[in-house]
């Protein structure tokens, strides 16, 4: 029975591959122009999308199975407690310009990463151990990399490291991915054509990708994007607004998909920086665990999910979304809406109700401001709801959306704010390692009190210790245990009040075949080489 089933699946997939019509152009949108086509400098979403579509990597993290898979590296071995990794590279692979790929190209990329003048998140991820990385040819198709200190989750880093040719003048001129950059018109589109030398084939031996080209139109206006999707001008729409999703779901249910909770989170935090320019009595509130937990209990997450996200979100318990099966702490539960508990905690902390308003021990009316980035309907609505929720427990919340650059300046430099509502767009699977700067008390993005010279509290010291442990621990279970404990401490102390994990809502044209939207980014084109368009009537000769 088992063999028959497996044979059946193989036959079916072979048939599907055989019937996969090659050719035609897939179109979807980028929200802004890519800032760079250099894969090592790709930081923001548009550049990252181009990098994913054109870049070949040694190891790929499969967004669906959440397993590591060999790509340009046929196999790899981690040795020396995570301080060394050996790659056996695929043979007979060529760059898009026809030149051969070899270990020298990998060595060249590693040398570039180690260039202190290269300032990028990708390079910094590799350099996070603090020491040098060395790459050496260890055979005709073998390369070894040496790290000065053990790197936990080492293999995952290679999912973002696109290998470019050591001979090409510019990295985007010779690529190893399924597509290559052909044309770019600023403000209009990026055109990628299939890489004629792409090494992958499908199970029937047909060269991938199936598509001839991918056109990424640059479109910031969401309404326009949806209009074009409805007209059939676009085939994919990522990150639909909940309202738009509901509407499309009514009009054409087959075009929308809910890929489940995303890795993203919406949250707010209190500014606990000692030199923040607001009165000391307010800082006293922010620094009180009971106060923070009371606020968390006063927030009605279910209403936020129902009204703002139209039901397409999950209440958040901590930084790791349920979509991140590797790191989510299943023991944590989101804080329930409990204004009684909130009042009780505030009372314990010395607050008292004076008429309709809350006052602290010294008689100060409890009032503070919450900033967020202006122009976001979602956050504006969440802010308005938080105002009402906190009003019920006597707290006056001044909700102040401000322009994004000004907001970044306040939260990273001047500390001129009291509380901040923001979201995290998480693209990294290795959550703990990618967020060292957030959880370490000395981190620049340690939201509530950045760049502490030493941990201000014992629980922050504990988090520091746990984060350093998981960073160098090779045993996955031990890493998980350490980060689980970090998440528990965050839930207990509530320096950050997590609200929701929004769902991944996407639209896919029925013409697109093999689409399998993933909760992990890139949601729609993680399997770009397997996508094809039905009804194109054009079969590419192999």
């Amino acid at each position: 029975m088992g063999i028959g089933l497996r044979t059946g699946v193989l036959v079916l997939s072979a048939l599907a591959c055989a019937s996969a019509q090659s050719g035609s152009e897939l179109r979807f949108c980028l929200r802004a122009d890519p800032k760079t086509f250099d894969p090592l400098l790709a930081e923001e979403e548009p550049s990252d999308a181009v990098r994913f579509l054109t870049g070949g990597v040694l190891i790929r993290f499969n967004r669906q199975s959440q397993q590591l898979e060999p790509e340009l590296a046929q196999s790899w071995t981690v040795r020396d407690h995570g301080k060394r990794i050996d790659f056996l590279l695929r043979r007979n692979v060529r760059f898009s310009d026809g030149t051969p790929f070899g270990p020298a190209d990998v060595v060249a990329v590693v040398r570039r990463i180690m260039d202190p003048n290269l300032h990028s998140g990708i390079a910094d991820s590799f350099r996070s151990t603090g020491g040098d990385i060395r790459a050496e040819l260890s055979g005709p198709n073998e390369v070894s990399m040496f790290f000065s200190a053990p790197v936990a989750g080492l293999e995952l880093l290679f999912d973002q490291l696109a290998i470019s040719s050591s001979r090409a003048r510019m990295p985007q001129n010779a690529v190893l991915g399924p597509f290559m950059l052909t044309e770019y018109k600023a403000g209009q589109y990026v055109l990628l054509r299939r890489n004629p030398y792409y090494w992958k084939t499908d199970s029937s031996g047909k060269n991938l990708p199936y598509l001839d080209s991918v056109r990424l139109d640059i479109q910031a206006n969401r309404e326009t994007e949806l209009l074009r999707f409805r007209r059939g001008e676009l085939q994919l729409v990522d990150k639909l607004e909940p309202e738009a999703y509901q509407r499309l779901h009514k009009e054409a249910p087959s075009t929308v998909r809910n890929a489940g909770p995303s890795l993203d989170a919406e949250f707010f935090w209190f500014n606990q920086a000692p030199d923040a320019p607001f009165p000391a009595y307010k800082r006293g509130w922010m620094q009180s665990k009971l106060f923070r937990r009371a606020i968390s209990a006063a927030v009605n997450r279910d209403d936020i999910i129902r009204l703002v996200y139209r039901g397409y979100a999950r209440p958040a318990a901590g930084p790791a979304s349920p979509a991140n099966s590797l790191w989510a702490n299943s023991k944590l539960t989101p804080q329930r809406y409990d204004p009684q508990l909130a009042r009780k905690l505030l009372q314990e902390d010395g607050f008292r109700l004076d008429g309709e308003g809350l006052r602290d021990r010294e008689g100060n009316a409890v009032e503070f401001s919450l900033i967020t980035n202006a122009g976001s309907t979602t956050r504006t609505q969440i802010g308005a709801m938080l105002q009402q929720d906190l009003k019920k427990i006597g707290i006056r919340l001044n909700f102040t959306p401000i322009e994004f650059q000004s907001l970044i300046e306040r939260i990273t430099r001047t500390q001129q704010y009291e509380a901040c509502l923001l979201g995290l767009s998480n693209t990294e699977i290795d959550l703990p390692n990618s967020q060292m700067n957030v959880w370490l008390s000395s981190g620049a993005l340690h939201a509530w009190n950045p760049k502490e010279p030493k941990p201000a509290t014992s629980w922050e010291a504990e988090i520091d210790r746990l984060m350093q442990t998981q960073h160098t621990e090779m045993d996955r279970k031990a890493r998980k245990a350490a980060f689980d404990r970090v998440q528990e401490l965050i839930a207990e102390q509530a320096p950050i009040v997590y609200l929701v994990h929004p769902d991944v809502l996407v639209a896919v044209s029925p013409a697109v075949r093999n689409a399998a939207p993933s909760a992990l980014p890139p949601h729609l084109f993680w399997n770009i080489e397997s996508l094809w368009l039905a009804g194109t009537g054009q079969r590419r000769k192999n």
Partner: protein
């Protein structure tokens, strides 16, 4: 150098240009969020990379020094490199200028024609109730956010030029109507009509000269208005013009782009208003 000599006009224009560029650079520099990059929120960045990001803007911190370097580069055709787009500003402007010029030009032409023709029709009707639908149209267009105008144009498959025309029309129509109404009611026009002069002759030779100056002044101003309107309209319609460039540059505090766009806008404004001033001066000297 007399105040109306070409040399004076050129010197004055250059002076305003220099001043506006410096003022623009200073305004951008002093606004909050300058020198901040969205990349700063990337948790992967090391302390060294963060410092390097901050140093990237070191040359822009002193607006005077930046502006001096910028002007020096501009004389060689180099307007610097965009922080937001990662490309030479010169290329960005070159690639986008055509789109904006066409949209603004068409928008101005359509807006003005509609405004003047409707103003004339309503003024000539001498019927108070005839003003109702005209001002209803003008009022409704004034009451519409430019985002909505841009969206409506998109839905109807119209170019952004129509949205710009919809912005220009209600700002020109009331002035055009008031000038025409006042001009048609002027004593010398009434006498001319009583004397049997034809309507066309009255309009061109009697009404025209008296209303020419304010309308020419309005024409000069409306050019700047149209360029200003192109910014939100192009941003919303995703039309790849200079307006969209300016909007994204403003959000990203892209100083080289913003100063360049400010200078371009100043050139357009000074040119349009200077042409208007010269035309008015000539009209004034002819009539006297």
């Amino acid at each position: 150098m007399s105040k109306r000599s070409p040399a004076w006009i050129v010197c004055r224009g250059i002076g305003i240009l220099m001043l506006s560029g410096l003022a623009g650079a200073t305004l951008v520099r002093l606004a909050p969020g300058f020198g901040i990059e969205e990349q700063a929120l990337d948790a992967r960045l090391s302390a060294q990379t963060r410092s390097a990001l901050e140093r990237r803007h070191a040359g822009e911190r002193n607006p005077l020094v930046f502006y001096a370097h910028f002007l020096a580069g501009l004389f060689h055709g180099d307007a610097g490199r965009s922080v937001v787009f990662g490309q030479p500003v010169r290329n960005l402007i070159r690639d986008r200028a055509g789109t904006t010029i066409v949209a603004v030009g068409a928008g101005l032409a359509v807006g003005w024609c509609a405004a003047v023709l409707l103003g004339l029709a309503v003024a000539l009707s001498r019927n108070a109730t005839a003003t109702l639908p005209a001002f209803a149209l003008s009022g409704s267009l004034l009451s519409m956010p430019s985002a909505v105008l841009a969206t409506v144009c998109l839905l109807l498959g119209l170019t952004p030029a129509i949205a710009i025309a919809a912005v220009v029309f209600p700002r020109v129509f009331p002035h055009a109507y008031e000038q025409l109404r006042t001009g048609l009611a002027a004593p010398h026009v009434l006498m001319g009509r009583a004397g049997g002069i034809s309507g066309t002759r009255l309009l061109i030779f009697y009404v025209g000269p008296s209303i020419l100056m304010p309308l020419v002044a309005l024409a000069g101003v409306s050019v700047t208005l149209a360029f200003g309107a192109s910014i939100p309209i192009e941003a919303l319609a995703d039309s790849p013009g200079i307006g969209q460039l300016a909007w994204r540059a403003a959000l990203g505090r892209d100083l080289p782009v913003l100063v360049t766009v400010t200078l371009l806008l100043t050139v357009v404004t000074v040119l349009a208003n200077t042409i208007a001033d010269v035309a008015m001066a000539r009209a004034g000297s002819h009539s006297s």
